[in-house]
Symmetry: C2
Amino acid sequence: SHIYAASKQMPDRVAIGPGDDMGAITVGRQTVLMTVDQVADGVHFRLENTPLDRVAHKAVVRNLSDVAAMAAVPLGAVVAASLPETLHESQANELFDAMREVAERYDCPLVGGDIAVWSGPLILTVTIFADPAGVEPVLRSSAQLGDHVYVTGQLGGAWDETGAGPHLTAEPRLAVARALALEPAIGLHAMIDLSDGLASDLYHIAEQSDVAAEIDTTAIPARPGSNFNGALTDGEDYELCFTASGAVPTAIEDVPITRIGRITPHLDRERITAVDAIGRAFPVTAKGWEHHAHG
Amino acid sequence: SHIYAASKQMPDRVAIGPGDDMGAITVGRQTVLMTVDQVADGVHFRLENTPLDRVAHKAVVRNLSDVAAMAAVPLGAVVAASLPETLHESQANELFDAMREVAERYDCPLVGGDIAVWSGPLILTVTIFADPAGVEPVLRSSAQLGDHVYVTGQLGGAWDETGAGPHLTAEPRLAVARALALEPAIGLHAMIDLSDGLASDLYHIAEQSDVAAEIDTTAIPARPGSNFNGALTDGEDYELCFTASGAVPTAIEDVPITRIGRITPHLDRERITAVDAIGRAFPVTAKGWEHHAHG
């Protein structure tokens, strides 16, 4: 969409333009990263089935996950809320108190906001600012040939049919990301957070890095109850996917890290392929693994 | 509301917390200001009667007006959009192109965004970052006894019954604000932008400065077709209201500046009073001038 189109007149201070997990602007000697995300009733949560503190949690964590994807440190946030007329003031207060609490847990104070009451559904829009804090922001576009591909945690089935599930309790992988970026032996190159689903999100890394990626179907850490295709396409995992050339630990701060594949040259084929247990390769699209169509 | 409640654990880097036109965070040697505002169909514009480029204009200018209120310089912005399913892709592109264009006119590149398509009405949420750029951010809380009160431009009637009107074409008073702040002889103390209406917005200055303000009913620059009460309460003017102790010019860059009253001690009465042509004082509330009730 045009929202991602870089301006022709982008000033020099724009260190990272639209299209990564966060944009960045350099002012004085400081670079500040920023990202915005919204959660809407009926799209990102179902208010009728979801406690308000879980809605608040998701609204904030969704953004903190983008901060993690840049290996940055949160500085602060502002929140805009469109509240349905049916929401009581005590519920609105519960919502804001819960947002403040989860943000503070990650040292990310809320420094401003805008509230409107309207006839539509609940929407919360959170904008977060972050500090690279001594680390070059980790882009989507810097995967290198020979890198392996990794994910944190478990994927798939984050959203059940009632709207509940792990997407409401995810924790942003801020500490893992900092540890990855600060250890030179790991050779961290590219990173993205998993919001749309591994297939879509790894595609962004591959496309923006002008490479391809091969996923080992037997390696994917699918959440219990989910499966390989769910892990590829369900989304809302808020885990990290990254590429690295060095020695990557199998866990950081109790968060498992799984090697799921490797970066390859981009030849005349799909950006993302999945290789099954007997070595057959199948194209992967945003809709998942086209195993059945080809197998 | 609780969204404005300062956290108990606000870290030292929060230079300006919730409750002013912008919040501020200091990182390294740099302070960065930030504010978020949303515009929603049916609340801040009427999509059926409003060209998309005007919606885009208002969404961006509303925030740039907050930047002006701090006498700061825009650095960049991120946009979140909730698009109704009925909006065509070409219309969405027109909207984003128009937002980018107006933002760029004020040297404020869009560096990121989030788009969701949903069954609700159009909402645009813009977050802007700004640089104090050598000027102490001008707070609402620093009005002083003896200051005079000024407004830029003309007030009232910015929104007509069809949803059209000057609120869709307002220009942010960035250059005026910088000129005011950079000239020591002006003695600029407190400033706010006029979005809710002069009565409400001047009340914020008075309350947060622990003073009162007296408005001269004969001095208010009401827009043609509006009147004193419209100027007090209609809102959506996106002009500046400020207090200063020195010599204030009657115009800056062709924008008229009008002295409308003075800051007084806060005694046991309304924060804002209006004094009529024969010297009678009447309380002013967010609902306007209670002349009739008392006169």
